[in-house]
Amino acid sequence: MKVELKAIHKYFGPVPANDGVTFSVEPGSLHGLLGENGAGKSTLMKVLSGVLSPDSGEILLDGRPVSFDSPARAVELGVGMLHQDPLDFPPLSVLDNFLLGSPGRWRLDRSGVRHQLLALLAPFDFQFDPDAPVSDLSLGERQQLEIVRLLWLGVRVLILDEPTTVISAQQRAKLFSALRRLTEEGKTVIFVSHKLEEVTSLCNKVTVLSHGKMTGEATMPCPTDRLVQMMFGRSITVRKRSNVDLGGPILEIDHLTVSDWRLEVKDFSLNVSAGEVIGLAGLEGSGQHLVTRVSAGLLRPKAGRIRVAHRDMTGEPYHQFLEAGVIFMPAGRLEEGLIAGMTWTEHVALVERHSPFWIDWPLTARKAARCIREFNIKAKPDTCVEELSGGNQQRTLLALIPPHPRLLLLEHPTRGLDIESTESIWGLLLDWTRSGTAIVFMSSDLDELLDRSDRILVFFGGRVRVLDARQATVEQLGEAIGGQGFK
């Protein structure tokens, strides 16, 4: 099915998210939609899939103008979208989720549908139990289920919005081969991403959006510089790891055992020196989160000892760790990091105190303005943090870190951010390591782990392997994450 979008405008308040976007996608092609965070990609695809209605502009499917009043209507006409966050019902079984949203039936033909589901799964090499609750599936498997469900509903144009943000490398490979297969069958796939390497390796053609406007189109293969130029209007230099001289021990973990309700990390030891950067790799929930949280004082170890700068901190409460200069930055920026509904200045006042009781608001606002400039954040002191883009929120979290932190524990510090934001964040982090801060960060981006760390700890089911980031290759790291080489 050929898809054409003509002069799509969509405003949120006075701000145009899409400012007259026109482009077309040929039937049977794998079309990339590339752009930095906030470029308007998701908005445009929500318009195309009936989630949002455009303020003006036209959508044509196979040359016929259409308008959708709901996502269900779009699916009926053959356009389905896989959203960034899975829109399923975790307590229900796979089969029930599959059945939900199937139009107008009173009687459920469970066994018939079960066969259809299994038949659909087989060619893609997707494997899961139709009777398991969806909450038992990984995010990647939930994505696979949603793709199969949309195909079963007769979708001929499949839109995927940043599908690789939360899935493992293996699942990504599986997803990509499934998408290639779909286009061979004549389906049209629109792949939305801010990751250059994914788009260049997967798509036939790429459309680039920037600030709500189309800034270029290219047929693959195309040099990466040209795409970056289209995305940002300039080229970006990537700063690699700086070779900092390591100092004394900052974090010493001795024969530690820590667990939550489903996983245990046993007899784990680690020494991190001042200026060192440690990457934590592994599938989501393989034990990395236990190590970051126990090092921040948020979890109590069952056995073993933790020392921060020679001081025994085992069993101390979180605020003692905070005072010792251990800073924990969670993955959920607005869930656990910042406070939605509070302004930039108010955040500054929360983390630093100038007097015992009264807040000097003018002074705090000046301090906020200075921080905003220093960290290159697009905000004003009275901007509420939830209005900021992801990259600016992440920089805000960094800006709120008290001076001279000893140890930074970062969970996915650049998840969902474009190259420009990622570079600026790593620039700030590397400046800190030069003044002796140790960094332990979690990531699912293999290149980031290899480029930024000194050592990589790979977690698999609670067990740990250490890789030297300067020697290891992407393949070795990927295999280790998949469980190879663990005793």
Partner: protein
């Protein structure tokens, strides 16, 4: 939701044009709906509204009544601004008012024979505050350590406070001779708050009420403590990770609110137009009324002042309805309810139609 919160700004004192307009529309809607209710029972709306107005402001003594009803609502509203800022629904405020009255009565009964009246009054006020604080902290501790939602914990504590008053009135503190639910033996005028001659209002009460509101407004607007309450209310998890001691802040919010509610309980015993004794249901719903006041004021201290005065006037003014027209005085409550509902509906519609879109 978020858009509304950000419009409110740091101080919570500013109203933008659109919300103000919406409130006026809500007020008109409430008047029309109440008028319709009056027409249905066959009364003239204009006549009834006129009676309420003259009942509230018609003479100095009526105005005095309004002022004395105003003060407890004002005190409770000030306290609730703190708990709402900390994201807590202090439904237990009624019980906190009752316990303030109970503690104040107890101290006055004990010390009345031995100390001069002014000392008794001051000690009773402190005891009232203590009673409210204890009851407030109980709700907070149930939430914090027992994982009991503060709404249910507060409701339970309200029942206990109510039953305790009845027990005291019919048991240990009963009037000489026979115990009666009409209450304990009234205190002598020496233990009443001093009032103006001819205008039966004590400047002490009004100053206490307005002063408490001013202090709370300053606390929430200008102090680290106030900011921490707000942080706890908006996102406990983030506030904790930023180093705010969230458990202690929640308990402190309950203690502050309970203390002000307890002070309101003391006013209900010693206030100029009070009955000067402890009787069942002494809190008279003032705590719940204050919840409505604070919600209507959209958590603004400045707006809580006129809105609580308006509600006090409505409550006192509608007492004229049964006296002069054989209409039930609960019509005041009907008007009040209509008003709250229409304001909440306009707020709901506002957040539905004027919210900012995300990408």
């Amino acid at each position: 939701m978020e858009a509304k919160a950000s419009n409110k700004g740091r101080t919570g004192l500013s109203f933008k044009m659109t919300p103000l307009l919406l409130r006026i529309i809500a007020l008109l809607g409430a008047v029309l709906l109440s008028g319709a209710a009056l027409l249905i029972i066959g009364a003239s709306p204009l006549d009834a509204f006129g009676l309420i107005l003259s009942g509230a402001f018609g003479s100095p003594s009526r105005l005095a009544y309004v002022m004395t009803a105003w003060v407890p609502v004002l005190l409770c509203s000030a306290g609730l601004l703190v708990t709402f800022a900390a994201g807590l629904w202090n439904i237990g405020i009624e019980g906190q008012v009752v316990m303030g009255a109970v503690f104040a009565t107890g101290v006055m009964q004990c010390l009345q024979p031995v100390l001069p009246p002014s000392a008794v009054l001051i000690l009773a006020a402190l005891a009232g505050i203590l009673g409210g604080v204890l009851w407030g902290i109980s709700a907070g501790a149930l939430r914090l350590y027992g994982n009991v939602n503060e709404i249910f914990g507060g409701l339970g504590l309200n029942f206990i406070a109510g039953s305790l008053t009845v027990y005291l009135i019919l048991g240990p503190w009963k009037r000489p001779g026979i115990g009666s639910t009409s209450g304990t033996l009234p205190f002598p005028p020496s233990l009443w708050l001093p009032a103006f001659k001819g205008f039966h209002v004590s400047p002490v009460e009004v100053l206490l009420g307005l002063g408490a509101m001013g202090l709370i407004a300053a606390l929430l607007r200008g102090t680290y403590l106030g900011l921490q309450f707000k942080a706890v209310g908006k996102n406990q998890r983030s506030a904790f990770l930023m180093g705010v001691p969230i458990g202690r802040r929640m308990l402190l919010a309950f203690a502050l609110c309970g203390g002000l509610a307890g002070l309101a309980g003391w006013v209900l015993i010693v206030g100029t137009s009070a009955r000067h004794n402890l009787f069942p249901l002494i809190s008279s719903g003032y705590g719940f009324l204050a919840i409505l006041v604070v919600l209507l004021a959209n958590l603004s201290a400045l707006w809580s002042v006129p809105i609580s005065l308006f509600f006090a006037a409505l409550a006192m003014g509608s007492l004229q309805l049964p006296l002069q027209r054989q209409l039930d005085s609960s019509l005041g409550g009907v008007i009040q309810g209509m008003l709250v509902l229409s304001v909440l509906i306009t707020q709901g519609l506002q957040s539905r139609f004027f919210r900012r879109g995300g990408r």
